[in-house]
């Protein structure tokens, strides 16, 4: 029998098996112990695959320096997705008013002011300022797992407001960066297929805002700058991007003044596994009880 896809049914199944924990606001649910175990196991598989790549491991908090965010030009492309952190910076009288208005269920946002941090809008953004200067001839490779915020509340389980991305970033000459991206495109596809997932890769575009955004998306596709590994999770026709590959060319090199030893602007590319999405693809494909998954899949995720 052909697999049936339904966003609502998947959400209900995930909740029923305590894999996710509803919290009220959409896209911000909690994750249960079994969900976290699967996520950690998949993370380990990625670590094993990449262990001889020579990556530097880094970890960043879920907020980034607002000045780095502003330099990144994220707001030029995706104003609808960003979340800026505001906080109270007033005096006693203003605090009294803030409390009063909140208890009266009146608007209180104007009593907060913009802070120096923004919720991290993309897993790789915090790392670029650390590349400023000249990178070695062999380039650099960084391995991270970061929380990402996207303002797109939705009842659809794969569309989250906050999620984790296992991200690798490569910086160096165009040849190094593109070869690395191509190597991982094949590796990522094979990894997900080895877990019994009906994955395929395709050229893709980012959700740029507005009419200008349609032009940016078309241009990105024409230049084949973004690829995704797609798996049907809530829909057959619109499969879910579980791994995405972005080739930024000189975008970040120019902004953060990153050079190769010959004095040229360095190029960058990144790839990220949407960790929760990979877990959901596994639960959708193999069921919500991991102990009942096929042996071939369990052997990879829970090696002896």
């Amino acid at each position: 029998m052909a697999t049936q896809y339904s966003s609502e049914e998947l959400y209900q199944n995930l909740v029923r098996h305590k894999l996710i924990i509803p919290v009220g606001v959409p896209g911000a649910f909690g994750r249960g112990a079994v969900f976290e175990d699967v996520l950690a196991r998949f993370n380990d598989v990625v670590t094993r695959l990449a262990k001889n790549d020579g990556a530097e491991v880094m970890a960043f908090p879920p907020v980034i320096d607002r000045q780095v965010f502003e330099k990144s030009e994220f707001l030029d492309s995706f104003p609808q997705l960003a979340g800026t952190v505001f906080s109270f910076m007033g005096n006693d009288a203003q605090h009294k008013e803030l409390s009063q208005r909140m208890h009266d269920k009146k608007p209180w946002a104007d009593l907060q002011s913009m802070t120096g941090v923004v919720l991290n809008p993309a897993a790789c953004y915090p790392v670029y300022p650390s590349f400023t200067g000249t990178v070695p001839a062999e380039g650099r490779l960084v391995d991270m797992q970061n929380w990402v915020f996207r303002h797109e509340p939705s009842p659809e389980p794969t569309r989250m407001q906050a999620f984790r991305v296992r991200e690798f970033v490569r910086v160096g000459t165009p040849d190094l960066v593109v070869d690395w991206r191509n190597m991982w495109l094949q590796r990522g596809l094979e990894l997900l297929q080895s877990l019994g997932l009906p994955a395929r890769s395709d050229v893709a575009s980012d959700p740029f805002f507005g009419r200008g955004g349609r032009m940016l998306a078309a241009s990105q596709k024409e230049q084949r700058l973004k690829f995704e590994v797609l798996i049907p999770v809530i829909s057959e026709e619109k499969p879910t991007a579980c791994c995405s590959f972005n080739y930024h060319q000189e975008h970040f090199g120019k902004i953060f003044e990153i050079y190769t030893p010959d004095g040229a602007l360095a190029q960058t590319a990144c790839l990220g596994f949407g960790m929760e999405r990979v877990c959901m693809a596994l639960f959708k494909t193999h069921g919500c009880v991991p102990s009942e998954w096929p042996k071939s899949v369990r052997d990879i995720l829970w090696p002896a």
Partner: protein, 81 residues
């Protein structure tokens, strides 16, 4: 019309060369036109010529040279009459 296009490129194209001196078939992307700058050029052309680029024309090829922009604007202004 070419002069209007050059003026718009000068103001919105953020080119690394002088838009006034560019050959009409010179590659604007080689001249430093970024994707974001090409969006601003597109919006400025719409305002100047009172046209709207349909989705099928929101492509890199349409904005790759002064002559390709001219061809697109001529097609859209002809359609409006």
């Amino acid at each position: 019309m070419i002069e209007d296009i050059r003026a718009i490129l000068k103001e919105h194209g953020r080119l690394s060369v002088d838009a006034g001196a560019l050959a009409v078939d010179a590659d604007l992307y080689q001249a430093g036109l970024t994707s974001h700058a090409s969006v601003n050029v597109m919006l400025a052309l719409e305002g100047k010529f009172d046209i709207e680029f349909p989705d099928r024309m929101l492509k890199r090829g349409v904005f790759e040279s002064i002559s390709s922009i001219q061809a697109a604007v001529e097609e859209l202004t002809a359609g409006a009459k």
